[in-house]
Symmetry: C2
Subunit: 327 residues, 2 copies
């Protein structure tokens, strides 16, 4: 079916999420498997705290998995330079490892690649994980927190969160029935304080391609969920889709769900690999299990940029791989 | 077969390599599809030069591919923060994209994932590419070239090079018959000037696992090729394997092949994602095509670290995914 992968009996059999202080204070705060109010997760540095968070997420997912032993493959990545949170955090499991970099799209990229690996037939279980940490991201991409820089109204708050998933072929658990890799899309945005605008064109491109190739409409899904477009990006997405004649019914954005708009000063919403990684586990998968929702088109959204590329005047590219989740 | 993927009719049907000045002066200099003596590849910054190099590599591979159109998937990654060389360089192709981070192991990681995607059956062609640039890596990981820092004897020279590969299921071309993901291995090395020592334990782990799971011996292969252990890492690899009773016959290291030891001041040899990416295409695949070699176990070797992780006293982890290439 063109760009679309079709999967048979690929299931999410276990999953877990962890969050930091702001995440635990938000509307989904009670739904995480663990939260740490000091954001340190027992580690000495912010970078190592993120490594500890992703390790905890996978530890919880393994604990809830009704198997002994370990998944046969692990797909993971994060925002840190050279993706060190994943490498450092997940090394102790000694699971054969594929490092990914899809910026904030990494969670869906990992779930899609884990599904492809299961479909290829060489393995019977695979895990995927991703994370982000506000303080690690701030000092890497912007300024250390101590600098106290003013944030733009379009800026998003990088989530301190992680999610981990275990997939198997089988008869129980939420199914991943289809998937599609994203294309890199250059919307011409160079403002690193407006990631939502940089990612919206990629989300639009992926949603339009998926609907066209599967001959479905937005209304055929209980929800079309984006990773971290935030308020700015979500608005732009609906405008871009309306120009193509698609009315985006049932759109939810993980970045708009994680924090409370009135009481938490998150500006345009949440962002970071950990945002969609944690919200899928804490909020959406339980709805598919309970039957409240039956079909979710899920797209994590990534903004491909580095401090160097921005300093050199380069565009921020968007990418949005997607998976179709069925209860 | 345990950790090992077995592939049927997965073939490398086209490939290309490009290099910079030092690479073109080395023993393999005449074998690249293109080289640029000023290392700029037409771009204004070193980071953009690397993007141009990986774009050129894929352009040459596409030109040599006897098909119209484009591969259906693209797996790529590099050493730059947030893997921007791959994103920027490969965006214009508009191929559905999976971003990878496996440090200098990325080329084999990409070839392995492309093989897995072909085995999963949803696509009929997939590409993989990787790159590195000496000047971009120096200023990101060490100091800008202008600083003129002294290099340690164990240090390697990050190659300015890129390689690109197109894979299809079919009856012609070099076969990828097996593959295995690498495990993250912590050898306790914290010296960022000794990547060879950091990667050797991972290479040893992968070679031992592959030989054990396939019930083969090192002598069963015309060559066991590592990516960029350099002289220090290659020596350590043979010591580590001998301790386990394995005599490493037919070992070649791309990092020891790229520069001339006498006339080029590369210290312990070449490194970087582009090293194994270019040497596989320029040197080894032609030997498999000509029949000079029949079976090569190929492992790119990655050192997972960031400037931040090193500054915080963290270990440099090694990883070494592998593929079995048959002529």
């Amino acid at each position: 079916m063109g760009r679309i992968f079709t999967f048979h009996n690929v299931r999410i059999v276990s999953h877990a999420s962890v969050g930091g202080r702001e995440e635990s204070r938000g509307p989904l705060g009670g739904l995480f498997d663990f939260h740490d109010d000091c954001n340190r997760f027992g580690a000495k540095t912010w970078e190592q705290a993120e490594a500890a968070a992703i390790r905890m997420a996978l530890t919880f997912a393994l604990k809830k998995w009704n198997k002994k032993g370990l998944p046969e493959l692990l797909f993971a990545g994060d925002l840190q330079n050279q993706c060190m949170a994943s490498a450092e955090g997940l090394l102790p499991f000694e699971i054969p490892y594929f490092g990914l970099y899809g910026a904030c799209s990494t969670m869906t990229e990992g779930l899609l690649l884990a599904s492809i690996a299961l479909a290829a037939g060489g393995v019977t279980s695979a895990a995927a994980a991703s994370s982000s940490h506000n303080a690690a991201a701030e000092r890497q991409f912007r300024f250390p927190l101590e600098y106290g820089g003013q944030r733009a109204p379009t800026a998003q708050w990088t989530a301190t969160a992680a999610g981990a998933y275990i997939l198997e072929k089988g008869d129980t658990g939420v199914r991943i029935t289809h998937g599609m890799a994203g294309k890199l899309v250059d919307g011409g945005i160079t403002d690193a304080s407006n990631m939502g605008a940089a990612m919206a064109p990629a989300a639009a491109d992926s949603i339009l391609s998926f609907l066209a190739e599967t001959k479905t409409r937005a209304a055929d899904y209980d929800a079309i969920v984006t990773g971290d477009l935030g308020e700015e990006g979500s608005l732009l997405l609906s405008v871009l889709l309306e120009k193509e004649g698609v009315r985006l019914t049932g759109h939810r954005d993980c970045g708009c769900l994680l924090y409370d708009k009135q009481s938490q000063d998150a500006h345009a919403g949440a962002s970071g690999c950990g945002c969609s990684a944690a919200v899928l586990s804490a909020h959406f998968l339980p709805k598919l299990v309970s039957g409240e929702m039956k079909k979710i088109l899920f797209l994590s959204t990534g903004a491909m940029m580095s401090p160097q590329s921005t300093q050199q005047g380069g565009s921020i590219y968007g990418i949005a791989p997607c998976i179709l989740l069925e209860g």
